[in-house]
Symmetry: C2
Subunit: 357 residues, 2 copies
C-alpha cells in the first residue's frame, strides 16, 4: 500500500520510527520477554521510562528546576477543572480569553468554581482571530489562555504581558515552537498532537505557586498529590507515556525545538502561500493569527467540492475535512508531518485549479 498523507487534527500523525518501536514494545519490551503493557509500573524498566519522559520535557522546553513535570490522565478537559481547583482562590476569580470551543469549555468549567472574567472573546467573528487587546483584572487569581485553536485555525503569536500568573492550555501546539516556560505558572496539554497517543496529559507547574488556592482539592485533582508520587500516585497510562517518551526522544535526536520550529514554519508557509495565491481557495483565519498547526480554508466555489474531494482522496490524503463549526477543510501539520506531505496537498490544489478554474 502507498503512504497515507495524514492531516488528522488529533489523534494525529506520529513518527514512523516511533510507531515501529512502540509496536515492538507491545510484544517484548527491553528484551525482558514481557510486553510493556503487562509489567508493573513500579518495575525498574517502567520507572526509567517515566524518568526519561520527564527529563526530555525538561531538556526540550528548557524547563526551570522550580517547575515540576507530570504525566497524568483525563485530557485537557480534566485540566480545565484541575487548573481552577489548584489556582483559583476560594472566593476569588479568574480571567479567561475565549478563543474557541475549548477555551470556552475551560472558562465554563472555572465558572462553576468562582467568578470568571471573560476579558476577551473572538466569538463575534466565529473565532477567526486571536484577541490581543484586553485588560487583565489584577484581582483575578490567573489569566487563562488557549495557545492554539485547532477548530478555528488560530494561534497565539505572543504571550500576553501579565502581572497575574498565566495558565495555558497548550494541547495543540506544545513542542512545535520555542516557549518561555517561566512566563507561565501552569502549562497543560493533552498528548495526542505533538507528543504522543491519546491517554496522557502533560502538566508543567511552578511548584511554589501550588497550595495557595485555599480550597479543599480532591486527591486526584491536586497537583501536589502527583508531584509527591512522581506521577505514580495510581497506575499511570503506561503505553501513552512510553510512546510520548519515544516521540520526545525522536524530537531531541533530530535537533529539538529549534529544528522542528523551522520545519513547521516552512510547512505553514508552503500551504498558506498556496491558499492565498490560488483563486479557488480562501483561508478562514485572520492572517496575523493563523495557526502553524492547523490551516483552515474553504473553496471559493462550493460547487466544486466533489471534484476537489475526489482529487485529494486519490492522492492518498487523509483527515482534511474541516470541523463542522467552520466547514471547508482543515489541514493539520503537526510535528511528525513531513513537508513532502504538505507538498502533495499543495500540488493537488494547483492541479485542481488548473483543471477547474
Amino acid at each position: 500500500m502507498s503512504k497515507v498523507h495524514n492531516f488528522s487534527a488529533g489523534p494525529c500523525i506520529l513518527p514512523q520510527e516511533v510507531l515501529k518501536q512502540a509496536s515492538e514494545a507491545v510484544i517484548n519490551f527491553n528484551n525482558s520477554n514481557l510486553s510493556l503493557i503487562e509489567m508493573s509500573h513500579r518495575s525498574k524498566d517502567f520507572v526509567d521510562v517515566m524518568e526519561k519522559a520527564r527529563n526530555l520535557v525538561r531538556e526540550l522546553l528548557n524547563v526551570p528546576d522550580t517547575y515540576e513535570i507530570l504525566f497524568l490522565q483525563g485530557g485537557a478537559s480534566l485540566g480545565f477543572l484541575t487548573a481552577a481547583y489548584n489556582f483559583m482562590k476560594d472566593g476569588g476569580s479568574a480571567a479567561y480569553v475565549n478563543t474557541g470551543a475549548w477555551a470556552n469549555k475551560a472558562l465554563q468549567e472555572a465558572a462553576k468554581m468562582g467568578k470568571v472574567h471573560e476579558i476577551a472573546s473572538s466569538k463575534d467573528k466565529n473565532y477567526n482571530y486571536f484577541p490581543t487587546n484586553f485588560q487583565i483584572p489584577s484581582e483575578a487569581s490567573y489569566l487563562h489562555i488557549t495557545t492554539n485553536n485547532t477548530i478555528f485555525g488560530t494561534q497565539m503569536k505572543k504571550t500576553p504581558i501579565s502581572r497575574i500568573p498565566i495558565i495555558a492550555d497548550m494541547s495543540s501546539d506544545i513542542f512545535s515552537k520555542k516557549i518561555n516556560v517561566s512566563d507561565y505558572d501552569l502549562i497543560y496539554a493533552g498528548a495526542q498532537k505533538n507528543m504522543g497517543p491519546a491517554g496522557t496529559t502533560l502538566y508543567i507547574v511552578k511548584q511554589s505557586a501550588l497550595g495557595k488556592s485555599g480550597r479543599q482539592i480532591p486527591t486526584m485533582l491536586n497537583l501536589e498529590t502527583h508531584i509527591k508520587k512522581d506521577s505514580m500516585f495510581n497506575t499511570p497510562p503506561v503505553f501513552p507515556i512510553y510512546v510520548s517518551m519515544l516521540t520526545l526522544q525522536w524530537l531531541k535526536d533530530n535537533g529539538g525545538i529549534e529544528w522542528i520550529e523551522e520545519i513547521n514554519n516552512k510547512k505553514a508557509a508552503l500551504l498558506y502561500n498556496e491558499i492565498d495565491n490560488n483563486p479557488l481557495f480562501e483561508g478562514t483565519a485572520k492572517e496575523a493569527d493563523r495557526s502553524n498547526m492547523n490551516a483552515t480554508f474553504v473553496l471559493t466555489n462550493d460547487g466544486l467540492k466533489d471534484e476537489f474531494d475526489a482529487m485529494w482522496q486519490t492522492a492518498n490524503i487523509s483527515g482534511i475535512k474541516g470541523h463542522r463549526d467552520v466547514g471547508g477543510y482543515r489541514a493539520s501539520m503537526y510535528n511528525a508531518m513531513p513537508i513532502e506531505s504538505v507538498q502533495v496537498l499543495v500540488d493537488v490544489m494547483k492541479e485542481f485549479t488548473q483543471k477547474f478554474a
Copy 2:
C-alpha cells in the same frame, strides 16, 4: 528466550494473541495503512472499536439494557471521587466497608464530600479477612464495597443484601467470575487486571440512578456527560480501549465468563492446596475469604528466603514479591495466566521443600 511466568499484580499478564494483534495495530490498523494511535477517534474504524468494546462488556456480563457502559480515564482513584459526586446526596452520607488500602482511599475521598459511615473494617487484622457482619444504615445514599483486595489477597464471596444501592470497585476481579450486574447501581474498574492495559476505566451504571445527588458535578466527573457522548466527550484513550476490546473478544471466543471462572477456580485451588499442604509456606488471608486473583503467602522459615527467591527466579517466574504491607509473596493469577504457569510455581514450591524442609 524462554517464556516468563508473569504473576504481576497489575498491570499484568494479557493473552499472547491480544498482544500480537495490538502490536500490529500500532503499525497498520484495519489495513488502513495508518496506525491505530494516529487516527481520529471520530473515524469509523475507532467508533467501531468503542462500540464493540461496549457490546462485549454487555454480552459477557449480561448487562441489562437499563445500564450504560462507559470507558473513561483516571483509574479507580478518580472513580472514588466520581462515585461520591454522582451518588452521595448533597448533605447526605454513604456507607463504606473498609477491606484494604484501596477501599480506605475510596472512603477517605468520599469523606471529603460528606458523612461517611465506616460500617465494617478488617484493619484490626491487617485486612486479612473480608467482613460480612455489618449493619447498613438506611439513611446512607449507597453502600460502597471493594470486591477484591489485591494487596491483602481477600475477595468478597457474596454480595451483601442491601436495601440501599450498592457501588462496587471491581478493578481487580471484574470479568473473572459471574456477577449479577442488577445488584449494583454502579460498578467501576481500572482496566489493568483482567480487561486490558492501564489507561482506561470501565463504568457500568444504572442510568435511572443518576442525576439525583443534588450536587453540581464538574463536567468530566459527571457520568451523564459521558453517557450523552458515548464515552467520547473528549478524546478517549484509544489504545487502552482497543486492547481492552481485544481482551474481551478473546474471553468471549474462548467461552466467556463461565469458562474463565472454572479455570480461575482450578488455578486458585492448585496454588492454595500447595500453600496449605507445604510445611514451608503459610497463607496470610483467612481461608474463607481468599482471593482467586491474588494469593498471598509467606515462608514459615524466613531464613530460607534467599534460597526460595533464587529457585523461582531460575524457573523464569516474575512478579511474585509481596506488597510491603503484607510481606512474603503474592502470586496474581488473572484471567490470561495459564494454569501451566501456576503449576510451574507449585513445582518450584515442592522442589524447594524437598531440598530444604
